[in-house]
Symmetry: C2
Subunit: 202 residues, 2 copies
DNA sequence: ATCTTCGTGATACGACCGTACCATGATGGT
DNA sequence: ACCATCATGGTACGGTCGTATCACGAAGAT
């Protein structure tokens, strides 16, 4: 049956199996055999499409971040045409909160990768650390724009406020993930933070 | 030379070896043999004082959080007698930022444990999740007190602001840990956040 | 029609890990 | 003075993990 096969597609399927398995077992505990079983292929095939576990992990990380970026973009787009800056930011940050299974898995695995990156230089060199930076640029741009229209409270620095919002969202995500805080509570805290930044609606 | 030995002390020594080794290799990569070598004892002894790796890990977590709580308390105390609420909060949160080796290790390992807790129910049941809650209570109390003295900006909810500060601090810590943000930048963001909450100094 | 290359399977190998087992001085109680 | 117990060392065992090896059928190229 060995027809010619689309490697890129196959690699994507396996990467998604990795994400599913790692979401269930934890990234630290997932092995090549688990990924193979999850993808419904033999161990050999996982080796064939990714030469080593390290390559698989790296590809899985890229896949994970790309999927998530698409999700966030879709949520922002769903917020409607030209909503206010606050609405866009709220949609963006709310999409990142681990309130459903997909987002939970993302948070779980992204944090796992971040921890690994502390001691693994190959991961540390990976550009996945830059994704938050670009998100921060986006939010800072929105805030600057809002500031020009007088929508922000006095004394708010767009750059610092953007950094604060992103870090706040990340921290909230972790606390929701480990069950310390409920999703509703987290969105409430987020809204309160936006209240501190934006002028009250007139 | 087997004199009678203080078990509690020995266990603490080994737990500290665990923390050092895990800080260097990553919690996922540290084994009993690594801990033994780091502590300068034989593998057998680690087994002797902790019957299993799980017990060792659990004890290590407790030790880690206790040490860190002491550190934070010391920093707060060093802030001087009866400083303002803002100064206390700033000292508390700044002490938690991973700016030196000890705090970096704490953040690294605490996050590692948190990730493990997502898939390990023994860890999830551990009360280490409650530590942030008590910190939040402390900060909320300080904010409430400040609110009564009119030191907060109007519309600030002490509870939500406290939760926001803690989450912000945690998120900042992670970004500093992975090298996305500098320590100075993080303290700046933290200060800006406090500016959003507290009235400007008169 | 043959041959090379591709996709796939099964399985083996070496390393490491947590744990268990056996041995043995030293010590303190009586 | 003896003996049970404590602290410690050495080492072996079973399992798993990532990787490498061997094998083979099917398809496209020539």
């Amino acid at each position: 049956m060995p027809r010619r096969v689309d490697h890129a597609e196959r690699r994507t399927e396996i990467a998604e199996a990795l994400v599913r398995a790692a979401g269930r077992l934890g990234l630290h505990a997932v092995g090549m055999r688990d990924v193979a079983a999850e993808a419904g292929v033999s161990l050999r095939l996982v080796q064939y499409y990714f030469e080593s576990k390290e390559k698989l992990l790296l590809f899985g990380l890229r896949h994970l971040t790309e999927r998530f970026a698409q999700r966030v973009a879709a949520r922002v787009a769903a917020a409607g045409a030209d909503p206010g800056a606050r609405a866009v930011i709220e949609a963006l940050l709310a999409a990142a909160l681990p309130v459903d299974a997909e987002s939970r898995t993302f948070h779980h695995l992204y944090t796992s990768y971040a921890v690994l990156a502390v001691t693994d230089e190959a991961l540390a060199a990976q550009p996945f650390i830059k994704d938050p930076d670009s998100a921060e640029d986006t939010v800072a741009g929105l805030l600057r724009q809002a500031a020009e229209q007088g929508e922000l409270r006095p004394g708010v620095d767009p750059r610092a406020a953007a950094a604060g919002l992103l870090s706040l969202s990340a921290g909230l995500g972790t606390s929701v993930l480990v069950g310390q805080r409920s999703a509703e509570s987290a969105t409430g805290v987020l809204a309160h933070q936006l209240d501190l930044i934006f002028q009250p609606a007139k």
